[in-house]
């Protein structure tokens, strides 16, 4: 109908690819970055990537189970960030650094 | 009287003692010592009732107690006594009693904990000799490890930590394969009878191919061999014996080593008769090596306790030779010698402990000429020594003679080499005796020595009486285990013949096949 515009259909695949990309970005970030807060951010990215995948599949299967699950994930992520960040604050008070590589007193 | 679970009573009575001791204030050392003496004495007296109620001339188990414990895997609480184990149990309670008396002046710190350790040990030891369910046996077998570890590690000598850890790990490692084999056997019982069972009697009824018997035999044998100790698994013994306190050494030598030989008799022979017969030559060779090797080692020791420890290696070699001679003379001799060794080596360790308490050294060259100051002590040591080198008239001779006869009848060459052990035994013992007791007093510290007091003689006299009583009239004991021994021999003697008759069935099959063609 709309002449001239080559509009790409956004299919489920696009969402999954986005999810995977985000997940990988997040995973690499967790593995590589040294700042604890940045690691948390990357974990959030990973979680949101999973959320995207869940929504996509939920839509694709025409069920709302996946979307409901997303709410769970969001809630858990929120709780976990709260605890994690408070632990981080306490850790900073002890070690005066947020560089994860420097916090190795639990070595075997 | 018949319906009383007397075996369980004897086994778990020491637990009651632990409960009572926990209430006694630990500061009052004498009270703790007195209590434990009385308690182990009571246990000993109760065990004597067993002799009264025991019926000799049968080979089966008596006073049986059988309760289903974990039915899903076939584990039962199965305890029983026969002619072979009855005197081992009594030896255990007796030596624990003696050890508790010997501890009066030897154990000064943490007396309460020591008493608890000793009682715990007693539970495990008695349980080992009475358990007829393999899982139950394993529990008791492992149970003694921790108290012994503590006993050596806390109240022992200078090198005690190394010695106790070595003992613990070595013995534990050996036992694990045994557990594996036991589980396999229980599973086999399930395959062959439909129901899983760890009971010894059910396992005995199994038919196992000779091929599978050998690894199973070896798995069990490893655990027992380390305990005996069999050459070359003996190196934990000198360290453990030397570093342990007197009471620990007495129990270690008197009872714990017997658990190993008992294991061979109770489990290896009846469960794996084919493998026993096949491997008997190999085991006998190792035993004879142990005899001579142990004697040679004892010869060059400078620490008198280490010397006695190596002599134990040599003596246990004799016992193992008697077992694997697989004839009535040898096996009867071995069972008797198990008791004899407990008495005479226990006595030797007590004596060493007594002199150690006076001079706080075990080095032979620190002594010399002390017979002048301690004549009574010299006499007791002489008696223990004579029993150890098997002088006729002492208990050691009866056992050793039977073992050597049995060994010789089975294999002439091994018997001859083993008999040379009597020479070496005399050499290291007499030389030690001379260096310690005879000659002039050289070190002036030895001038202050006091002879044995009443308490010390009190624990030595019953041992002396036993040495001569068994030496002169061993029939009383031999009668008790004659039948179980005969039953065991019959189990294996059939295997000796089987090797010759295997050929015939094959021959008939072949001819019938040929005819068809």
């Amino acid at each position: 109908m709309a002449a001239g515009l080559n509009v790409m259909e956004i299919t489920q695949t696009h969402y999954i690819v986005l999810s995977v990309l985000l997940f990988c970005i997040g995973a690499v970030g967790v593995l590589v970055r040294r700042n604890a807060i940045v690691i948390f951010l990357c974990v959030e990215i990973m979680l949101n990537a999973v959320n995207i995948a869940l929504v996509a599949f939920s839509r694709g299967l025409d069920q709302n189970r996946g979307e409901v699950f997303v709410f769970f994930v969001i809630a858990v992520a929120a709780a976990e960030s709260a605890i994690g960040l408070s632990l981080l604050i306490l850790l900073y008070r002890q070690k005066r650094t947020l560089d994860v590589d420097e916090i190795n007193s639990l070595k075997g | 009287m018949e319906s009383l679970p007397i075996l369980s009573i004897i086994t778990f009575l020491p637990l009651l003692g632990i409960g009572i001791i926990a209430l006694i204030p630990g500061k009052n050392k004498n009270l703790v010592h007195a209590f434990i003496t009385i308690f182990t004495g009571i246990t000993f007296l109760i065990s004597l009732f067993l002799i009264n109620a025991f019926k000799a001339d049968t080979s089966g188990f008596q006073f049986i107690e059988k309760i289903n414990w974990i039915p899903s895997v076939g584990i039962q609480y199965f305890m029983g006594l026969d002619g072979i184990s009855i005197y081992l149990v009594i030896l255990t309670t007796f030596l624990t009693f003696i050890a508790s008396i010997s501890a009066y002046t030897a154990i000064e710190i943490r007396v309460k904990e020591f008493a608890i350790t000793l009682l715990f040990l007693e539970v495990g030891m008695i349980g080992v000799f009475l358990a007829l369910d393999l899982f139950l046996f394993y529990i008791f077998w492992e149970l003694i490890l921790i108290p012994m570890y503590l006993m050596i590690g806390i109240w022992g000598g200078k090198n005690r930590l190394y010695a106790s850890l070595k003992f613990f790990l070595y013995t534990l490692a050996g036992s694990t394969l045994m557990l594996l084999a036991a589980i396999y056997m229980a599973y086999q019982v399930k395959l062959q009878t439909g129901q899983m069972s760890f009971s010894l009697l059910d396992m005995q009824a199994l038919t196992l191919t000779p091929k599978i018997q050998t690894p199973l035999f070896l798995a069990f044998a490893l655990a027992f061999a380390i305990k005996v100790p069999y050459f070359p698994f003996h190196t934990w013994l000198p360290d453990a014996h030397t570093e342990a306190p007197t009471a620990g050494s007495v129990i270690l030598a008197g009872v714990l080593l017997k658990m190993g030989t008992y294991g061979f008799i109770r489990f290896n022979i009846p469960l794996f008769p084919d493998a026993t017969v096949a491997l008997a030559p190999f085991m006998s060779i190792l035993a004879v090596v142990g005899i001579v090797y142990g004697a040679f080692m004892a010869l060059v020791q400078t620490d008198v306790k280490r010397l006695v420890a190596y002599s134990s290696v040599s003596h246990m070699g004799f016992i193992m030779l008697g077992i694997f001679a697989l004839n009535e003379e040898g096996l009867n001799g071995a069972v008797l010698q198990m008791l004899n060794h407990g008495i005479s080596t226990g006595m030797l360790f007590l004596l060493v402990g007594m002199i150690y308490e006076r001079r706080h050294t075990r080095m032979i060259n620190e002594y010399g000429g002390i017979a002048k100051k301690m004549p009574i002590f010299a006499v007791y040591t002489m008696i223990a020594m004579l029993s150890s080198i098997a002088l006729p008239g002492t208990n050691g001779f009866v056992g050793e003679f039977l073992i050597l006869s049995g060994g010789f009848l089975r294999d002439h060459a091994l018997g001859i080499i083993a008999t040379s052990g009597v020479i070496f035994g005399a050499v290291y013992m007499l030389w030690m005796y001379q260096r310690v007791f005879l000659g002039k007093i050289v070190k002036k510290e030895n001038e202050e020595l006091t002879d044995l007091n009443f308490r010390e003689q009190f624990i030595l006299i019953p041992l002396v009486v036993l040495i001569f009583a068994i030496g002169v009239y061993p029939g009383y004991m031999l009668k008790t285990f004659k039948e179980p021994v005969r039953a065991l021999i019959e189990m294996t003697s059939a295997k000796f013949n089987d090797e010759n008759t295997v050929q015939k069935p094959n021959a008939t099959i072949e001819t019938s096949v040929e005819k068809k063609l």
Binding site: - | M297, V300, P392, A426, L430, P474, K482
Partner: protein, 641 residues
């Protein structure tokens, strides 16, 4: 009384227990009296049984009295049982008789030694063991006695335990005996293997089914003989006997002359029914006996300790006994046991009397001139010397000659060795006699142990009376065994006939009467020649043996006992010890324990290695997780392709 034969062994045992427990309270004199009493009672019981047995017919003279079962298992069925027969009676009479005399003698000899209650206890224990040995009706009781006398030997030789000499000697005796016992045990095991019984009567019965010269019989007899060489001090196990002189002299008399050392001969006689079926072993026994007899005699020629001379003499005389037994003359060997018991005990007790009088001096170079000062000792010692040298009419003459005669019939070559030994025996015994009792007193060079010179005087009656009794026996004892050709009294060879059924003599006599008389004459001549040599050297020229440093060359070697002890020490004692030491250090500690500790160290290092992975750095853990996850998926992918 026969049923009560157990009293013979029970009495000394009771003595041992009583003195052992209460001796310190009794004191030395009472202990000695008690010990002698029990020993004498045993002798009386023996005598009573002996008389009772004499009234029986020859064929009914074997009685076995069983007490109780001892060791019963499998083929082994040994009970505590005693056998009364002519052979055991002869031995028992000698043991209890001579033994009791020595007990009484000891009361005098050990006077002043406050601790001698222990001595008397041991002496009684010895009697108990020895009597078990000779009265036992099976090999196991004999072995009980066998080892028992070894123990008592150890205890009594080492009696003066504060001296290194005594301790070493006792230990040596026990261990060398044990080496012999090893052979004995192998013999016993072989007997169980072949015959299935240890009882003498049963063995005698079963032995009839075996042929002469069978290999098993050879080995059994040879192994048992090795046991005998240990106990009876033959080559190669004689080395303990001379050292055993470190013990009190009555001990040397009893154990190392009259009784214990003859156990080997007794054992061969008791098992003679077996030995006659082993001609090879008999030959070996005869040769070794002869060589020992000569070898020991040569050493005895030069020794200067009065007891050492007698010790080597004992070894030598035992050699004669074995020579006779080897030639098949078992009763002649036993006869010599009896006469030797008399004159050797006499000689040792006499030496003891000398030592006692000289305040424990033992070197004959410091003696001399004792003839007048110790009259009784002197005369009795002379009688003993004459007996051992083989002077006609004395006991030694009859017994030794009987042996030499039988040996000549067996092998003239061996007879030559024996005859040479007899010559040397006469020489060294008279040398001993002359140097000790004649000449001038050399003892003033050497003051007594307590400083002041108490003078040298005769020993008390309790010591001299046994000497006299033994002297009479040494004189008259020979008449128990008069050979047929000299049988003027027509009494017959009493001892040979008495022993007839209990030992199996099989000595063949192939030469005639005139040969026997000729040989007898040669023996007397040789004894006389030996006497003349020593007379010339030590009486007429008043020659004294030299000081130790003056010996040289061959004499030095012989004087030092051919250095055999030193050779044994290096070849056996030191080498075994050093081997064991190396074995311990290099093998037990380094290899076996090394493996044990090595395993422990391996595990520890393994753990240390694995510990490196726990860095504490979170990123590392996450890497592990990621890596693990990735590899898991890769593997999954691969497997499902």
């Amino acid at each position: 009384m026969i049923e009560n034969v157990w009293l013979i062994t029970a009495l000394p045992l009771a003595g041992f227990i009583i003195i052992g427990l209460l001796g310190n309270r009794f004191g030395e004199k009472l202990s000695g009296i008690i010990a002698s009493l029990f020993s004498s009672l045993a002798f009386i019981v023996t005598a009573m049984i002996f008389i009772e047995v004499l009234t029986k017919e020859e064929s009914a003279r074997k009685i076995v009295v069983k007490l109780f079962d001892w060791i019963v298992a499998g083929k082994i069925n040994a009970s505590v049982a005693y056998q009364i027969d002519p052979l055991s009676l002869v031995m028992t009479l000698v043991v209890t008789g001579v033994g009791s005399l020595i007990h009484f003698y000891s009361i005098g000899y050990m006077h002043g030694d406050k601790l001698s209650a222990k001595y008397f206890a041991y002496l009684n224990l010895f009697m108990f063991s020895m009597l078990n040995l000779v009265l036992g009706s099976n090999l196991l009781i004999m072995f009980l006695g066998w080892e028992g006398v070894g123990l008592c030997s150890y205890l009594l030789i080492g009696y003066y335990y504060e001296t290194k000499e005594a301790g070493d000697a006792g230990k040596k005796a026990f261990i060398v005996n044990r080496i012999g016992d090893f052979g004995f045990l192998i013999g016993i095991f072989l007997i169980i293997f072949v015959f299935g019984t240890l009882d003498f009567s049963e063995l005698e019965h079963l032995a009839k089914d075996h042929h002469s010269g069978e290999l098993v019989i050879f080995w059994i007899t040879l192994m048992l003989f090795i046991g005998a060489t240990g106990k009876s001090a033959q080559i190669p196990l004689y080395v303990w006997l001379p050292d055993a002189m470190a013990g009190p002299t009555p001990v040397s008399a009893l154990i190392h002359a009259a009784t214990m050392v003859t156990s080997g001969v007794y054992m061969l006689a008791r098992l003679s029914f077996l030995y006659v079926k082993a001609p090879e072993t008999m030959f070996i026994i005869c040769i070794i006996g002869a060589l020992t007899a000569l070898f020991a005699a040569t050493i005895g020629m030069l020794q200067n300790d009065i007891k050492k001379v007698l010790a080597y003499s004992t070894v030598s005389q035992l050699g004669y006994m074995f020579m006779g037994v080897g030639a098949g003359a078992f009763s002649a060997g036993i006869f010599h046991v009896v006469t030797h018991a008399f004159f050797k005990a006499l000689l040792f007790l006499g030496a003891g009397s000398v030592i006692y009088a000289m305040h424990h001096e033992q070197d004959i170079r410091n003696m001399g001139g004792l003839r007048k000062k110790l009259p009784i000792t002197h005369i009795t010692f002379l009688i003993g010397t004459l007996a051992i040298a083989g002077t006609p009419l004395f006991s030694g003459f009859f017994s030794k000659d009987e042996i030499l005669w039988k040996v000549f019939n067996y092998s003239p070559a061996i007879w030559v060795i024996g005859a040479t030994g007899a010559l040397i025996t006469s020489y060294y015994m008279f040398r001993l006699y002359f140097v000790t009792f004649y000449g001038e007193s050399r003892s003033h060079d050497h003051h007594g142990l307590d400083g002041h010179d108490q003078g040298v005087h005769e020993s008390p009656l309790i010591m001299t009376l046994p000497l006299i009794i033994l002297a009479v026996l040494a004189l008259a004892g020979g008449f128990l065994g008069i050979p047929h050709i000299l049988d003027i009294f027509h009494s017959g060879n009493i001892i040979e006939e008495f022993l007839h059924h209990s030992v199996s003599d099989n000595a063949v006599v192939s030469h005639g009467k005139y040969m026997e008389i000729l040989l007898m004459g040669i023996s007397v001549l040789l004894a006389f020649v030996g006497f003349i040599f020593s007379y010339k050297l030590f009486f007429k020229n008043k020659g004294i043996p030299r000081k130790d440093e003056e010996y040289a060359g061959l004499q030095k070697t012989v004087y030092n006992k051919y250095y055999i002890d030193e050779i044994y020490n290096i070849a056996f004692v030191k080498s075994i010890y050093h081997f064991a030491l190396v074995l311990w250090r290099a093998f037990d500690v380094f290899v076996i324990d090394g493996i044990v500790n090595g395993v422990a160290r391996l595990l520890k290092n393994l753990g240390q290695g694995m510990r490196e992975t726990e860095t504490g750095v979170v990123h590392d853990y996450m890497m592990y997780m990621a890596g693990g996850l990735v590899s898991f998926f890769v593997l999954l992918f691969l497997f499902y392709l």
